[in-house]
């Protein structure tokens, strides 16, 4: 039998309490239990970055963290950061520079980019490329993504 634990966490500012199977990953919990499907599942082994989330202010791979490990944590997803307008500047730059095609990697890419923006005032193209180097995009060739982040961070 699957072992379940009672867990309480704050997701996009709202407190949720659920009985969660111990083996369920955080991104599966968000998608399947809470219907927050903006965090995508790309590889389920921590390489592609499509499931990048923010837990207690740090970005994590939603496929490498168990949901029960988020007990007591604050979890922010693309939906929450869109509604709070925290990502507005980045999203505008991504849109204007066409820094996305299929959009599957985009939520994770934005979470990683915003992490850089929160930690630095300015960044070179090389620093930007290094910071998003754990986020796989197959469509764009990355250049427009780097352009957009550069604009958002350096103005």
């Amino acid at each position: 039998m699957e072992q379940a634990l009672n867990v309480t966490m704050t997701v996009n500012g709202a407190q949720v309490t659920r009985s969660i199977p111990a083996r369920q990953h955080l991104v599966d919990f968000l998608r399947d239990e809470l219907g927050l499907t903006g965090s995508h599942i790309g590889c389920e082994h921590g390489v592609c970055g499509a499931c990048t989330l923010r837990v207690n202010g740090e970005i994590v791979r939603g496929c490498l963290m168990l949901a029960v490990q988020a007990d007591g944590c604050r979890v922010d997803t693309i939906e929450g950061l869109s509604d709070s307008k925290e990502l507005e500047k980045l999203q505008k730059a991504f849109h204007e520079k066409n820094a996305l095609q299929c959009g599957f990697c985009t939520p994770g890419m934005l979470m990683a980019a915003q992490d850089l923006i929160r930690s630095k005032k300015k960044a070179t193209r090389e620093e930007i490329r290094a910071h998003i180097s754990g986020n796989y995009c197959r469509c764009t060739g990355y250049q427009a993504i780097v352009d957009a982040i550069e604009e958002a961070i350096n103005g």
Binding site: I41, N98, L100, G103, F104, R129, A130, R138, Y142
Partner: protein, 795 residues
């Protein structure tokens, strides 16, 4: 040649192209930026069941017995099915086409019956309340196998010591020979002959989103609705209809947001057919999403060629002839319905393509192996043909002591030679090789880079510059698939509906995979009708809604779908003017539509707002003459037919630095000049080219599906199979020549595959240029540090 002349409206006359040619952001990107897209796995259904597959652990084995006894008792399990059970509901298929003479392949079943022919082939399906429960139960299936001899190497397959499918007598799926005559004579008497054998690693698409399908059978209606991450909804509607025996009109295929396709999602996959069949059996919605590990095992792979190419030229540097011998392995089945013979066929069609030699001989074999299947993936055959051509061209230039750019200048087909028939038989409407080469050399500052390269060599810094000229298949006519009997549409349609509020709804059969088709359709529709872009809404990817059409493949979306939208937009505008003429009691010839208004054609004076036109047409037609009926929904279709394909051309350059101590290649910069005809949205085109280039760089440097001698995939995960990430990729400079096709009013050719077609050759030539002073050369992609060190004799 300047931009296409696309007079859309009287005011401004000849130069008014509306939004066409402008870098407008895509309206549909907004939802994706907020994580509010609708990818297939995001959709929610009542009574949804999940399927997971029991896949063969062996590359070739007879299924002696499958025992489901423990699996069916596992928590949450609804049912477990084997091949024969699913075959009662889904008939097998054979992927051959009449115009690929002699192509053969055995019947393929949705779930393997009797025998598994590659590691990863689905041999049973478990359906459960959740995916994790289904996966738990898969572990409880007990199988008895009888291992069969495995054919992994393609040369061994061609020899045929072990035949994979006994009924087919040998392992040759397809072969083609082509000869203009006189080739052997040219080689015997030529001043210079160069020869090289190139190897191309098998790789795969690695779509960010795995293949995904939700099949929802309604027993009361005997109808099937399939939410499917597919590039070709109408093709799949036909396939589900025929193989599940459901009337075509009862099958609806809906492709919502799709997380990357690149050709991976245009084929029939056995596990997806099984999912649809299981929905019919269980009479409820069933979902399958390929996880990353099964994507590597079951998404189509591509390439895997060994090709020997020879080139003959004169002392003066004139190319006289090409001679090609290509061998490619496709796994155990030709993939339905496009077949796996097309890539090799394209290599024969395209090798040598940019050059003006008249003699050409080619031999090509497609063979079966016990690895995952291969089929059409972005730029089908082009990366092979371009690398063979440009690799051997560079070798010839080196042997002659000529600069590679100069050698190309001598041999590229002249810009005034069109229409032109290439010795392989393909026809070019109008290309611009010389303009493209000149623009490339100027853009990259070629002579300065050569000087810098030479200076750095003295400091033992090994930089290389690689060029790759190319031709590309776009806007295919029915000659690609239809003539061979495939029920794949080469025509597409667009319906435009004028809404009462002055908005325009566009419904088009070409799908959106992220490349921006919906964005450019909005640009074209707005421009053709005379409304602003915010008034246009585009719907694609639903067989229940859009006109019939082929979908997205072979760089056809803009050139074919875009033309249908343009024709429909013009027809709608004239119908709207008919209504306006009645309301205003003016001559239609005096009127035009611009900026959401009916205006006076000559003075541009606004006469009628479009929402007023809509109000009268839809709600007060009683005020219009009795003999007048407004027609504010129009549909137009388009099929390219004058040429088999609307060829485009381009040229790329790569600048690399090779570290001879580590074998690492640093990509410093990349350039691409492309002539894709009328450019509808430069920003979208450039980023699509860049994405394609990076995909080609992946093939050149990182990506290879490695198999052991027992047919086991050794690196089927993203930690071991390397893809290009942002850190290693260069900035890519794009520039354009615009030679519109005269076959359509829009003049757009395709562009989606250009980057992928040329990048591997450019990178290969750059690496070999860097290694030239060290007397080393690489010819086996991907060019890993180990292979480069081997070429240098260091390992």
């Amino acid at each position: 040649m300047g931009k296409a002349e696309l007079p859309l409206h009287a005011p401004g006359t000849q130069v008014d192209k509306g939004y066409i040619g402008q870098s407008v952001p895509r309206p549909n990107a907004q939802r994706l930026l907020q994580g509010r897209g609708a990818f297939t796995d995001d959709l929610r259904f009542p009574r949804l069941a999940h399927v997971a597959f029991f896949r063969s652990p062996y590359a070739h084995a007879r299924i002696r017995k499958l025992s489901f006894e423990n699996a069916v008792k596992s928590p949450g399990v609804i049912a477990v099915f084997d091949g024969p059970k699913v075959a009662e509901y889904c008939s097998p298929w054979v992927a051959v086409l009449a115009h690929l003479k002699g192509i053969k392949s055995p019947p393929q079943y949705a779930i393997a019956v009797d025998r598994a022919c590659w590691q990863g082939e689905a041999c049973a399906a478990v359906v459960a309340e959740s995916r994790s429960q289904a996966e738990d139960a898969v572990q409880l299936i007990e199988a008895q196998w009888e291992e069969l001899p495995v054919v992994v190497d393609m040369e061994e397959s061609l020899r045929g010591d072990v035949v994979i499918h006994q009924d087919l007598k040998d392992n040759v799926c397809f072969k083609r020979e082509h000869d203009t005559g006189g080739v052997d004579e040219v080689f015997a008497s030529a001043d210079v002959v160069v020869e090289e054998t190139f190897h191309f690693g098998r790789h795969t698409g690695v779509c960010p989103e795995g293949r995904a399908i939700v099949a929802d059978y309604n027993a009361a209606e005997h109808s099937l609705t399939v939410y499917h991450a597919t590039q070709a909804p109408h093709m799949m509607q036909d396939i589900f209809s025929r193989h599940l025996n459901i009337p075509e009109a009862n099958v609806r295929v809906i492709a919502k947001d799709i997380g990357g396709s690149y050709g991976i999602k245009v084929h029939v996959y056995a596990d997806e057919m099984a999912t649809a069949a299981i929905s019919v059996i269980l009479r409820r919605p069933v979902k399958f999403v390929a996880d990353r590990l099964e994507s590597f095992l079951s998404d189509i792979h591509a390439r895997e060629h060994r090709a020997r190419v020879r080139l003959a030229c004169s002392k003066a540097g004139e190319i006289l002839a090409f001679d090609l011998d290509d061998l490619t392995a496709i796994g155990p089945y030709s993939v339905y319905p496009r077949t796996s013979g097309i890539e090799g066929n394209q290599v024969v069609n395209l090798t040598g393509g940019p050059y003006k030699h008249q003699k050409y001989k080619a031999r090509m074999h497609v063979v079966f192996t016990n690895k995952n299947v291969t089929c059409q993936y972005r730029a089908v055959g082009h990366p092979i043909a371009v690398a063979l051509t440009e690799g051997i061209v560079d070798l010839a230039a080196q042997k002659l002591g000529m600069d590679p750019a100069e050698f190309r200048k001598i041999n590229l087909v002249p810009d005034d030679a069109y229409p032109y028939t290439f010795p392989s038989g393909i026809k070019f409407e109008k290309l611009s090789h010389h303009k493209a080469l000149d623009l490339l050399l100027r853009t990259m500052n070629y002579s300065q880079l050569r000087a810098e390269q030479s200076r750095l060599r003295n400091q033992k810094v090994y930089r290389g510059i690689g060029l790759a000229a190319m031709i590309e298949v776009t806007n295919p006519s029915p000659a690609f698939y239809g003539v061979g009997g495939a029920r794949i549409s080469a025509q597409d349609g667009a319906t435009l509906r004028f809404e009462p509020t002055g908005m325009v709804t566009v419904m088009c059969s070409v799908t959106e995979q992220g490349q921006g088709t919906e964005g450019i359709f909005a640009q074209i529709a707005a421009s053709a009708v005379g409304v602003s872009m915010d008034k246009v809404r585009v719907i694609t990817g639903d067989t229940g809604v859009t006109p019939y059409g082929g979908g997205t493949w072979a760089s056809r979306g803009a050139g074919i779908g875009g033309e249908a939208v343009l024709l429909a937009g013009r027809a709608l505008r004239t119908n709207m003017l008919d209504v306006a003429a009645q309301i205003l009691k003016l001559d239609k010839a005096e009127l035009d539509i611009k900026d959401n208004n009916v205006i006076n054609r000559l003075t541009s004076e606004p006469k009628l707002q479009l929402q007023e036109l809509g109000r009268v047409a839809y709600f007060r037609p009683d005020t219009l003459p009795l003999d007048f009926q407004s027609e504010l929904t129009v549909t137009r279709h388009y099929t390219p037919r004058q040429y088999g394909f609307t060829f485009t051309n381009g040229i790329q350059a790569s600048l690399v630095e090779v570290d001879p101590d580590t074998g690492f290649v640093k990509l410093l910069k990349h350039w691409c000049v492309e002539d894709s005809g009328t450019v509808i949205n430069p920003m979208l085109v450039d980023e699509q080219i860049r994405g394609g280039v990076v995909q080609g760089i992946g093939a050149a440097l990182y990506e290879e599906c490695l198999y052991g001698p027992d047919g086991q995939l050794l690196n089927g995960n993203m930690a071991d199979y390397l893809v290009p990430m942002s850190g290693e990729m260069p900035d890519i400079v794009c520039a354009h020549i615009e030679t519109p096709t005269l076959q359509s009013q829009l003049g757009a050719k395709g562009v989606g595959e250009a980057g992928t077609a040329g990048a591997p050759a450019a990178v290969m030539n750059a690496i070999n240029d860097a290694l030239a002073p060290l007397n080393a050369r690489v010819t086996r992609m991907p060019f890993t540090p180990e292979r480069i060190l081997k070429a240098l004799g260091k390992v």
